[in-house]
């Protein structure tokens, strides 16, 4: 661990790196320069060393396969990709899905949010907050925790904050073990609706193959109520631990804080309003039960999906790709006549250029590109982040004030969530208020509240779906024909945030396909303007609260910050590093027995 003098700022810094980072999904490396004298992180670079090439090999494929292929981008949010691909294909083929199909999609996605957020929060993030970790990094904090009573002890049955920390201990703690049980329950809910987790077998453009019987929805409802019981205890528990961190470590608001630049592309379509036509995208976007929106410095600047679509720009600057300015422009104008930029995903061509990582001289250091959103008003290319997913969703929904259902209501400055009566408690109302900062703690807190949000919306959808089934509705699929030339775009919220699939069909085959999951937005490196990506921005300038010196430094504050974004690097990079891989022996080609040429 050498202390060197940083050329730019003249401070004594130690270079420390975490590569690969554990307890996230995929390959992520964080390279930092830390000034231990002032206990601050001076510089941060976020790198990823994996490339897979979806936007390369999707070209030339049958568009109906897109949902199944893109599902394999990720092993935990693959269904979000299938859903988004189905939305993009619905737009391209001109289909309106039957109402029951929309409900089934929404219920499946709600189950996915409940599954993923609870397993990530309780089994992966909370290991950073558990008693064993805090004992090694902040022993004085643990002493204080053992003496502080938990304000919501009557709701979650943990007397002190120290008890809460002990129940986060991996494999031994109560919360840890209960979350594992809940992950099974929510996975079952998901499989009831979408056939198989993670790669759904019953979602297609045009609808679903799930047979909509009362049995399916009742099974879902039983498990949902079991889960809501857990959620009603989890949210106050999260509040307690996070409020304790604010009180016991004054200044913790600055850990992971960055400028409020949040993007949410909306989720949970309203079956009565959505028709997947680009011309009406503004209306059905605003009717979604998680409102799409972009929040800049605490203000909601748009909820219009057409605006959001046209503002997406994919920049390069520190990524291992060649620029595509000389390549073909697939889409000059969108269906409403607005011009589409060359740097928009519809017109992108991925030209990977593998090279050595160069962290020092302003060279390229990551396989992740730099998606940015162009704000017409100021001409800035904003490095939006998703706050891990839930923060952006709740913030945009709260400010928009459009969602109004008996279970979830947005008030303009908060979101009110009503959960029904369950086994261990009566009806409960939870309220998520818009926080003052976008920092580590608020991202983690929003995740707990979003679990309750998804559960409440699932109640709403189950009731609507059962009403339709009781009236005899059976239709879950709409027939369609694939056109020869079409374009489509799907906007959805993956678990970790914004997800968009842009699709161009020529001659009945895919000519261009670009999925943009949340992690390219979050893990993006510096673009050619020099704007750092969200991880880099959040970690740079971070104050260190850990009590260890440089020798046994764990970097727990940095790790808490990075994990609060819920990184998912298989989604972050569409690339696989295969230099000259040879096919040794081909055993089986799964082509459904059709004759091979």
């Amino acid at each position: 661990m050498q202390t060197t003098v940083d050329a730019r700022t003249g401070r004594n810094v130690v270079e420390m790196s975490w590569d690969p980072i554990t307890r996230i999904i995929g390959n992520l490396g964080i390279y930092t320069k830390i000034d231990f004298d002032n206990r601050e992180v001076v510089e941060c670079k976020s790198t990823s060393s994996l490339f897979r090439g979806y936007s390369v090999f999707m070209r030339g494929k049958d568009p109906r396969d897109a949902g199944f292929i893109t599902s394999r981008i990720c092993g935990i949010c693959g269904d979000n990709h299938t859903t988004c691909s189905v939305y993009a294909q619905n737009m391209a083929y001109g289909i309106k899905m039957p109402i029951l199909a929309e409900h089934i999609f929404n219920l499946g996605e709600a189950a996915e949010y409940m599954f993923d957020h609870s397993i990530f929060q309780d089994n992966l993030v909370f290991v950073d907050f558990c008693e064993k970790m805090v004992k090694e990094t902040n022993p004085s904090l643990l002493d204080k925790a053992n003496r502080t009573p938990a304000p919501n002890a009557h709701r979650h049955n943990h007397k002190t904050i120290g008890d809460i920390m002990r129940s986060f201990n991996p494999f031994e703690g109560e919360v840890y073990k209960e979350a594992l049980q809940m992950s099974r329950v929510t996975r079952e809910m998901f499989c009831l609706m979408e056939g198989r987790h993670v790669h759904p077998s019953t979602l297609y453009p045009g609808g679903t193959g799930t047979v909509a019987t009362p049995q399916v929805f009742s099974d879902y409802l039983v498990r949902l109520l079991k889960f809501i019981d857990f959620a009603k205890r989890a949210v106050p528990l999260n509040d307690d631990i996070f409020n304790f961190f604010y009180e016991a470590l004054p200044g913790y608001e600055d850990v992971g804080k960055r400028r409020i630049l949040l993007g949410c592309w909306g989720s949970f379509q309203d079956p009565d309003i959505v028709d997947y036509r680009y011309e009406h995208m503004t209306e059905w976007g605003r009717a979604m039960k998680v409102t799409p929106g972009i929040v800049v410095d605490g203000e909601l600047i748009t909820t219009d999906l057409v605006d959001i679509n046209l503002g997406i720009r994919i920049l390069l600057g520190s990524s291992y790709y060649d620029d595509w300015t000389e390549e073909e422009t697939f889409v000059k104008e969108d269906p409403l006549g607005n011009p589409v930029d060359k740097r928009h995903p519809w017109n992108q061509t991925t030209l990977p250029r593998p090279q050595k990582r160069d962290l020092k001289n302003g060279g390229n250091y990551s396989w992740v590109m730099s998606p940015r959103w162009l704000w017409k008003k100021t001409g800035e290319h904003l490095a939006l982040d998703t706050g891990g997913g839930p923060l952006a969703r709740l913030w945009a929904t709260a400010l928009a004030g459009l969602v109004d259902t008996p279970y979830v209501r947005s008030t303009g400055s908060s979101v009110i969530i009503n959960l029904p009566k369950t086994i261990s408690s009566g009806e409960t109302q939870l309220e998520w208020k818009v926080p003052r900062w976008a920092n580590t703690i608020e991202r983690d807190r929003a995740r707990a509240y979003f679990i309750a949000y998804a559960a409440a919306m699932a109640m709403h959808f189950v009731e609507r779906a059962l009403e339709r089934v009781y009236r005899g509705d059976v239709k879950t699929f709409e027939d369609f024909k694939v056109p020869d030339d079409a374009i489509g775009c799907g906007f959805h919220e993956a678990v970790r945030g914004v997800l968009s699939h842009h699709l161009v069909i020529r001659d009945g085959k895919i000519a261009n396909y670009h999925p943009y999951p949340p992690t390219p937005w979050n893990a993006s490196p510096r673009d050619h303007f020099g704007t750092p990506g969200p991880y880099e921005d959040a970690v740079q300038g971070l104050k260190i609260f850990e009590e260890n010196g440089p020798d046994n430094f764990k970097g727990i504050d940095i790790m808490r910050t990075v994990r609060s974004f819920d990184p998912c690097l298989p989604c972050g990079v569409h690339m696989f590093d295969g230099r000259g891989a040879r096919v040794l022996e081909q055993w089986h080609s799964p082509m459904l027995g059709t004759p091979q040429k």
Binding site: R64, V474, G508, Q596
Partner: protein, 76 residues
Amino acid sequence: MEVIGNVRVARRDINPKAPAHSPGVREGNQRTSMIREPGIKRLSRFMAVATARRSTGVNPRARTPIDPRMPVLTPP
């Protein structure tokens, strides 16, 4: 060997225009369901609804339920 962008991709196993349907496997949404399938009642040329027979394979009268509302068979 095909080149997409600047990447050489391998030879494809199957032509994308090959048929997606294997003959003999019946597809959903077919019109004969409206005419033939038990539990589906045809209302008009394009509209069909489910009857109580579709929702369960249990014959409630044979089980002498204690409450006339049980089991809930849809639609009424």
